[in-house]
């Protein structure tokens, strides 16, 4: 009898660990590798110098590649960047050239980013992130700062604001050259909508109390935000221009709304019975449902991946912060990735931008979730944080 029970228990344990993830290893010990984490694809780079080499390395690294000698590579990438960038990718095992292209126009960086995108498309059959943008806040010791936009690697940054006031939480309007952000420029935290092409901005939420944490729905039509005008900081939703405002939650301490990819759900951080939790509510209103993040403490600042599958968030302990990821369907416990805060997903749903501390300043960094590889972005002055990846 005992033997049969033991057998059932073992099968039960294995069955619990397996569902959902594809290439999952079950590690005996502390962490279960719940994300089907992979080894990087080994490639060799040959013939590129200066900025082109820098860009190729950065872009490929954060999309899950590693750099090895040609003999050890699965793909050999060779070419030239003296003048314009040109290159080819050879599949070493199939012994054939799978990509051969030259680039011109714009800058060497842009060309190299375009080449990196073509490499990613060819090898991983995915759209690359080489030509995407981030928005972020840059803050000085006074507490004041400005909103910036930059290439996703931190280069070519431009300030969006120049108010020398407290700013926070930039968010892109999907598919548009426009951002929302919180600014104290008028003496109170207000949410602005700011067109990057026209340069005009207006307040879309300037109520008494707190207006912050704007998050735009994937179709760009609606904005979720945290307003305290109802007496406590809660999740509200309005149209992109601030009209048709509707309250979604009534808890005491809500923060950081983020939309599901189908625009149906809003995940946010909250406190229920004195415990900090992640929860979700229907975007059209309804009951609040908690999400399980058992195993890590104080989940906060959630961000829902564009493909709908994952929710990244910050886990906070008394002394530090960790970037964690859970499957959005709650089927597996959280995976702890790296030390840091404020994750924002790239359009590829595998790379994240976040910030982490180096000597009392925050520095932006880009992480590939599946290989856990990360690299710091080029730094702007001051403390850089709260990055938002344009999608």
């Amino acid at each position: 009898m005992k033997k049969i029970i033991l057998k059932f228990l073992t099968i039960g344990l294995v069955a619990v660990a397996l569902p959902g993830a594809r290439a999952q290893e079950i590690q005996v010990g502390k962490e279960i590798n719940v994300l089907g984490q992979t080894k990087p694809i080994p490639v060799s780079l040959d013939g590129f110098t200066g900025e082109a080499a820098e860009v190729l390395k950065f872009d490929l690294f954060v999309q899950g590649f590693s750099f090895v000698a040609p003999d050890a590579a699965q793909y050999q990438i060779s070419g030239s960047s003296a003048g314009d960038v040109s290159g080819r990718v050879t599949d070493k095992f199939a012994k054939k050239v799978v990509l051969s292209r030259s680039y011109n126009g714009a800058s060497v960086r842009r060309q190299a980013h375009a080449f990196a995108d073509d490499i990613v498309q060819t090898i991983q059959n995915k759209k690359g992130i080489g030509q995407t943008k981030i928005a972020f806040k840059s803050q000085s010791a006074s507490g004041n700062g400005e909103i910036f936009v930059a290439d996703f690697d931190g280069y070519n940054k431009q300030s969006v604001t120049s108010d020398n006031s407290i700013v926070a939480k930039p968010a892109w309007s999907p598919g548009k050259l426009a951002v929302y952000y919180t600014s104290y420029a008028r003496g109170n935290p207000d949410i602005f909508y700011h067109s990057l092409s026209g340069g005009q901005r207006r307040v879309i939420a300037g109520y008494s109390g707190l207006n912050t944490s704007a998050a735009v729905s994937p179709d760009g039509a609606k904005v979720a935000m945290i307003l305290s005008k109802g007496g406590s900081p809660n999740v509200w939703v309005c149209d992109a221009d601030g009209t048709n405002l509707k309250r979604l939650t009534t808890g005491l301490e809500d923060s950081s709304p983020t939309w599901s990819n189908d625009g149906q759900w809003i995940c946010f951080a909250t406190k229920i019975a004195e415990r900090r939790r992640l929860a979700k509510v229907s975007a059209s209103g309804g009951p609040v449902k908690t999400l399980s993040t058992a195993g890590v403490s104080s989940p906060t600042e959630p961000d829902w991946s564009p493909d709908g599958k994952w929710i990244a968030f910050t886990s906070q302990t008394r002394d530090d912060f960790n970037i964690c990821v859970i499957p959005a369907d709650g089927s597996l416990p959280p995976t702890v990735l790296v030390a840091g805060q404020n994750p924002s997903w790239a359009p590829n749903s595998r790379t994240l931008v976040f910030n982490h501390e180096i000597g009392h300043r925050q520095v932006l960094s880009v992480l590939d979730v599946f290989t856990k590889q990360y690299k710091d972005c080029q730094r702007a002055n001051g403390s850089n944080s709260q990055p938002a990846w344009g999608k």
């Binding site: 803050q139 008028r186 340069g199 901005r201 007496g231 601030g242 805060q341």
Partner: protein, 206 residues
């Protein structure tokens, strides 16, 4: 036996609904903040374009809502004013309330501070109050912005219980952006987890 068959599914249903909605009973009362309870939708007219790094001057004509923005409505806010009134941070500086880590609960020991602030407001009927909620550096930014607001709101509720009309009280959160002590140790953090009371005086001649 028959009773059990009926009661059991009922209990399950109740438990299930409570699990998803949370228990509504015992939710503390929260008071709506008066004032700018309308959105401000400007059309951006009358303002220069921003371009790279420019700022937008004179934004937000509250077209149609008759909603006041800030006096002198210029490029940036006059930091000595709040909502058309003059800030007096010194008057009630002695009564700053401090909070426990990750908490917005007003501690029992703070009662004398609350009373002092309530008295000050009682003797100056034209004045209003701005409560600034702050956090120590250890939380994430948006969580702290929300927590700072929650602290200011909790103090507002405490003042309401002490007889202050909540319509005279406004809140603002600075998250962890304005520490009282720039240090990175427990002593500094304890000073930063606070609510500051800023007395607001009417502008002369208003």
């Amino acid at each position: 036996m028959k009773m059990n068959k009926l009661v059991f599914p009922l209990v399950i249903t109740l438990a299930a609904s409570m699990a998803t909605t949370g228990c509504k009973k015992g939710t503390p009362k929260t008071t709506i903040i008066p004032g700018h309870n309308q959105q401000i939708v400007g059309d951006g007219s009358g303002a220069g374009t921003v371009g790279n790094g420019g700022t937008m001057g004179g934004d937000n004509n509250a077209s149609g809502t008759g909603l006041n923005t800030k006096p002198g409505g210029g490029d940036t806010a006059n930091l000595d004013m709040f909502d058309g009134m003059i800030k007096d941070p010194a008057a009630l500086a002695a009564y700053t309330v401090h909070f426990a880590f990750d908490s917005a609960t007003v501690k029992k020991g703070e009662e004398s501070n609350i009373s002092a602030v309530a008295s000050a407001l009682a003797s100056n009927s034209g004045d209003k109050l701005l409560i600034e909620g702050n956090c120590d550096e250890r939380g994430t930014e948006e969580y702290n912005r929300s927590l700072g607001e929650r602290r200011a709101l909790a103090l507002r509720e405490a003042l309401a219980k002490a007889g202050v009309d909540p319509s005279r009280v406004r809140t603002i959160s600075y998250g962890k952006d304005k520490p009282a002590d720039p240090g990175h140790d427990e002593a500094a953090w304890a000073k930063n987890r606070r609510g500051d009371f800023i007395l607001l005086h009417p502008k002369a001649g208003v």
